[in-house]
């Protein structure tokens, strides 16, 4: 068991070909995009650039299915104001999902992105005010592998 509440946190933003940006939810899954639980927890504990790039390439090569994002009402006022100003961006979160065919993906409004930006944060709990807070550490970009091969 850990003796600290500090954890590495991976946040992913995708960039579509039409210039749109969107938030991507990275979760372990056996049946959808094969991001394994052990791989994800290994990036959470010790996020090497190589592992983060691998994660980025898994995401850019998969479809992303939209889900409504509920913003918690206990979020701080500065963040709430940022979310308010960019409501369209924060309204939906996209989940990497496997589809048997592009047609089925299209029917469920699933999209693909050209590149992703993975930002590494550190989260921690603070006794004063019972705050759960995230702090920026680093970021990396990952583009479609197929684009690199062209």
């Amino acid at each position: 068991m850990f003796s600290t509440n500090k954890r590495a946190n991976i946040t992913v933003v995708g960039y579509a070909s039409n210039g749109d940006s969107l938030i991507i939810k990275v979760v372990a899954s056996n049946l959808d995009v094969p991001i394994s639980k052990s791989f994800l927890s290994s990036t959470n504990n010790f996020p090497t650039k190589r592992k983060l790039e691998k994660l980025g390439h898994l995401i850019v090569n998969s479809h992303l299915s939209p889900v409504k994002l509920e913003i918690p009402n206990n979020i701080d006022s500065t963040s709430a104001a940022i979310i308010q100003r960019n409501q369209r961006f924060y309204d939906t979160i996209y989940l990497p999902k496997y589809y048997q065919s592009p047609e089925i993906a299209k029917s469920e409004n699933a999209i693909k992105v050209d590149s992703v930006k993975i930002t590494l944060y550190e989260t921690d709990f603070f006794e004063e005010g019972f705050l759960f807070k995230k702090r920026f550490l680093d970021e990396i970009q990952a583009a479609k592998l197929v684009d690199k091969l062209k």
């Binding site: 003796s3 600290t4 509440n5 052990s38 918690p72 759960f132």
Partner: protein, 290 residues
């Protein structure tokens, strides 16, 4: 077929004593039940350890123990930054058994080294907590609010409704997706809960230091150290259900203890298998269904 394969590595050494047999069998049981860190290692562990348990003459086969040690070292080093820390303790313990079998040492070698291993584990557990700001409030309180395993205990101790504790968890999960630096959510809890858990936090740290001192500096026949370790295991692992860690500590306890106290370690080992029962959920269910 399996018997034939094992016959090829028939470098059989009959266990020196029933005590040695007991230690080896408990260690093999632990490796079968909790030795794995992934399917790759799991397949080998299940085959090798189960066959060693099934056929007495292979229980203390030094070649098979060396093979287990190599497999554990190889697979665990692949996931060094990811695996639970007690899995690393398994490696030390298996290496110790392997050295013991290969060097034909006396059983006292295992007793002394397992006592030292418990002392060092407890010392480094306390040491790394001290250098990682464990002495300031917040660690246990944060864990009880964020970690789903403790949410029902938090609900039982405080008056915070279960739904609000669920909201705490959901809001931390949502925050983790948002690309906003310095964003935060305020969790619902109470000062009473914070103070209570901080007291436990400091008490736990002092107790770990005490167990470390007893195992590092007391005489090997001392039962005070054994009472301290058994109390630590029961007190800690019924709240933090890490069955692998409690099991390896108790096997190390069995290995270093005198004959009189050994039965209490074995009893505690059996008792602690009940930590996998979802007590919190059962209490919650009975409390809310009548």
């Amino acid at each position: 077929m399996a018997y034939r394969i094992l016959s090829l590595v028939k470098f059989n050494v009959t266990p020196n004593s029933s005590f040695e047999d007991l230690i080896l069998k408990f260690s093999l049981i632990l490796l079968v039940l909790d030795g794995s860190t992934g399917w790759g290692l799991d397949v080998f562990m299940r085959i090798i350890c189960v066959l060693m348990l099934a056929f007495n003459k292979y229980t203390s086969n030094k070649f098979l123990w060396l093979l287990i040690a190599i497999l554990l070292l190889f697979f665990n080093s692949l996931q060094f930054y990811n695996i639970d820390n007690h899995k690393i303790l398994f490696v030390y313990w298996v290496l110790l058994i392997t050295v013991y079998l290969w060097t034909n040492k006396d059983i006292e070698y295992l007793r002394l080294n397992s006592k030292l291993l418990i002392g060092l584990v407890m010392f480094f557990a306390a040491f790394q907590k001290i250098i990682n700001e464990f002495t300031v409030p917040g660690f246990l309180h944060g864990s009880f609010l964020i970690d789903g395993r403790f949410m029902l205990i938090t609900h039982f101790i405080t008056d915070v409704p279960y739904q609000e504790l669920l909201n705490n968890r959901n809001s931390t999960a949502t925050l983790s997706y948002l690309p906003i630096n310095n964003s935060n959510v305020t969790l619902t809890s109470s000062t009473y809960m914070g103070n209570l858990l901080y007291t436990f936090q400091i008490f736990g740290l002092i107790y770990e230091g005490l167990v470390a001192s007893l195992f590092l500096f007391s005489k090997k026949e001392s039962v005070i150290k054994d009472i301290a370790l058994v109390t630590f295991c029961v007190g800690t692992y019924f709240i933090f259900p890490v069955i692998g860690f409690s099991s390896i500590l108790l096997i190390l306890g069995i290995s270093q203890s005198n004959v009189k106290f050994r039965k209490y370690y074995i009893f505690t080992f059996i008792l602690l298998q009940f930590i996998i029962v979802p007590w919190q959920e059962l209490i919650f269910y009975f409390k809310n269904s009548f």
